[in-house]
Subunit: 413 residues, 2 copies
């Protein structure tokens, strides 16, 4: 019998205990050990829980219990999760977490502590919820050189964008609907500003390229500025707008970004609907592989956590090979040097002469049109430019009297 | 250093040696052991190979070499692969194979021998080529009760159907093109008759439900009877025709089938194009998860084989938990009891009265129409019926004078 503790009894945590209790027999059969939840840490009380007597409000009850070999951290947030996880790893307990903020901020350090103590630190659930992605990247695609990952990594923003695309709902209305359905928090900033997607692409980048990428070194744009006009132009161009987290190797450096992008309707990522996530992995041997499913939610995420717990139990005195080194941002391609073709929406008194000025400034561009466009509205797609050159071109273009309202990158996926 | 042998130097085999040689350093770093190809078995000669001196035509050179710990079987076919693999497992060598015919026919027996000898028998590459599916099913989704798997498991037939759908190419022309491009064999029966897809769904079914399903207990239809008329009606209905391998639990029995089906354009599987494969896994906790990528080809398949070899090296004295029991077909739902809604194409002198007869015979059906239909052509979709009831209804319907030309199942995915 293996004794485990679960820290946090919120949405994911209650799902973890539910699965461990409900499927206890099948799980025991699969790992050839019974898994027993000895403690659940939460400040709240849950008198109706079938294991109400095993709840504690005191972390010491876990850290000082030498019989507990695996600890699940599903509290979320950086504090006190970081402190608790570190102490667990320093005290002979393997840790499983779904906490992307923790892994993105402290992954390298915690993996090192786990390594030094011959323990496991697993976090399948931190990216893609119930979609298997960390383990396939680490194992199944082990004989591959992964060159690029592009993902729809946040279900809330994908739901909002899908509502804008399919039902012509405004951003504000779609956000309100997402909140009403429980997909978005009352304070939705982490989702709609792209921070959640950023943490996830950082974890994937760290894993496949072996060096920790910290969120603050990643250019991150959310979807708050996306309008229905942009959605219509994306459609005219032949695609849809998605919030994409992307990392690839360019001249030996990691080119990493989170931003809304035009995605061609030919791409598998264009048809990812509602709260679903999809992660496209480009390997030198496999070609394109896509992993698709619900990226969040109680049971999908909890099932990924429990699969990691099972893996810990099966590998008790043998570490899983999962590791990356700490690193500064010297390996990240400066944002100004990243290259994209851009959709540009501008206002101009004379759109014909403004488009001529655009071709002059950005290079030969492709004009887009939509029905019911405003008289002074001009939309076009530029050639591929570094962001530095793009900004210079905007300045030059605006000397013609035109005014750039917005710009969105064109994804090559 | 771990010594391995590769049996077969065809498309996949040459890819395996290529990857093992090209990526030897990264692989050694990942598994913390050098992997050395000691022998390659093939009857042909490859004087230009960088390891030409390690080729042998004699299996004894492998089986009698106690230093060889892992053997890769990529010869294909049942004989002599079965005999060779069995001997390897009986003689202390773990085996990695991409051979779906072997796993579908002999999986339970070979897994048992591997178990008895504390060795690994791994076959990630046997389903989905480079798409990770066996390991995610076995590990990442371990805390899930998998309820259903539906897949586009054969790239050749998907290429042919996609050409029919997108370019209105006839089946014969699309097959010829597939052969010209090297996607289809000169004798394409295994692909177009559905046998290849059948072997793969058998392997997946055996893995998730724990009992060996033999291909000859699975109702298998190929795509040779699919016409452009059917393609047009599928479009009128709101979907496309795909060759689907499907298994689900119905009343405790496995309902398993391979057949062309109408797939709604709302389904993630409808947009799977060209030679790609996609596998939809429905779990009680995760909901729908889809794995998508190239299902065949030299390097994708070889990279999956090498990942398994790496896993063998990492788990030398510790078995991977992968196992299913042998079983007869008593656990398979008889084909006559499987339930589907059906697309029916019929000829009738008076289509109006024939459709009235159809509603009478099958229950309330939905009429489909297409432009340029023949005068005496009637197409409709029946309610959900068991196949036994469907056949009775066809008999009754044809008493009206109408004649059923073809029928295709409607997938619920």
């Amino acid at each position: 019998m293996i004794q485990v503790a679960v820290m946090g009894h919120g949405v994911v945590g209650s799902g973890v205990t539910e699965i461990l209790l409900k499927h206890s027999e099948e799980i025991a059969k699969k790992v050839q050990e019974e898994i027993y939840i000895k403690k659940v840490l939460d400040l709240r009380e849950f008198p109706d829980s079938p294991i109400a007597d095993r709840f504690t409000k005191n972390f010491d009850d876990i850290i000082n219990d030498d019989e507990i070999k695996v600890v699940v951290e599903v509290m979320g947030g950086l504090n006190p999760a970081y402190d608790f996880v570190k102490k667990c790893l320093e005290n002979g307990k393997s840790v499983v977490t779904s906490n992307k903020e923790l892994v993105a901020a402290k992954g390298a350090e915690l993996l090192k502590i786990a390594d030094e103590n011959n323990l496991n630190f697993l976090f399948e659930a931190s990216v893609g919820g119930g979609i298997p992605i960390i383990r396939p990247l680490n194992q199944c695609l082990a004989a591959n050189e992964v060159r690029e990952i592009d993902g729809i990594l946040n279900g809330t923003t994908n739901f909002i964008l899908a509502k804008m695309i399919k039902d012509s709902m405004s951003f504000e209305d779609a956000l309100a609907l997402a909140q009403q359905k429980g997909y978005a928090e009352r304070n939705p900033a982490a989702d709609i500003e792209g921070h959640d997607a950023c943490r996830k692409i950082c974890i994937l980048a760290s894993l496949v390229f072996g060096r920790h990428v910290y969120p603050d070194s990643v250019h991150t744009e959310g979807i708050t500025k996306v309008t229905l006009t942009d959605v219509e132009y994306a459609s005219a161009w032949g695609g849809v707008i998605k919030l994409i987290g992307s990392v690839k190797l360019t001249d030996g450096k990691q080119e990493i970004i989170v931003a809304p992008m035009f995605v061609s309707e030919e791409s598998q990522l264009s048809s990812v609907d509602g709260v679903f996530n999809a992660i496209l992995v480009k390997g030198d041997s496999t070609g394109d592989v896509v992993f698709y499913g619900k990226g969040a939610g109680k049971l999908p995420t909890a099932s990924a956590v429990v699969a990691d717990v099972m893996d810990c139990v099966k590998h008790q005195n043998k570490r899983r090979y999962i590791f990356w080194e700490d690193a500064d941002s010297s390996n990240i391609l400066p944002f100004e040097e990243t290259k994209y073709s851009m959709y540009v929406l501008a206002n101009a008194d004379d759109t014909d002469s403004a488009f001529a000025a655009a071709n002059e400034a950005f290079g030969e561009s492709k004009k887009l049109s939509r029905t019911n466009s405003e008289k002074n509205e001009l939309a076009f797609v530029t050639p591929v430019l570094t962001f530095a050159d793009f900004e210079k071109a905007v300045e030059k273009f605006e000397q013609s009297g035109a005014k750039v309202i917005t710009n969105i990158r064109i994804a090559v996926i």
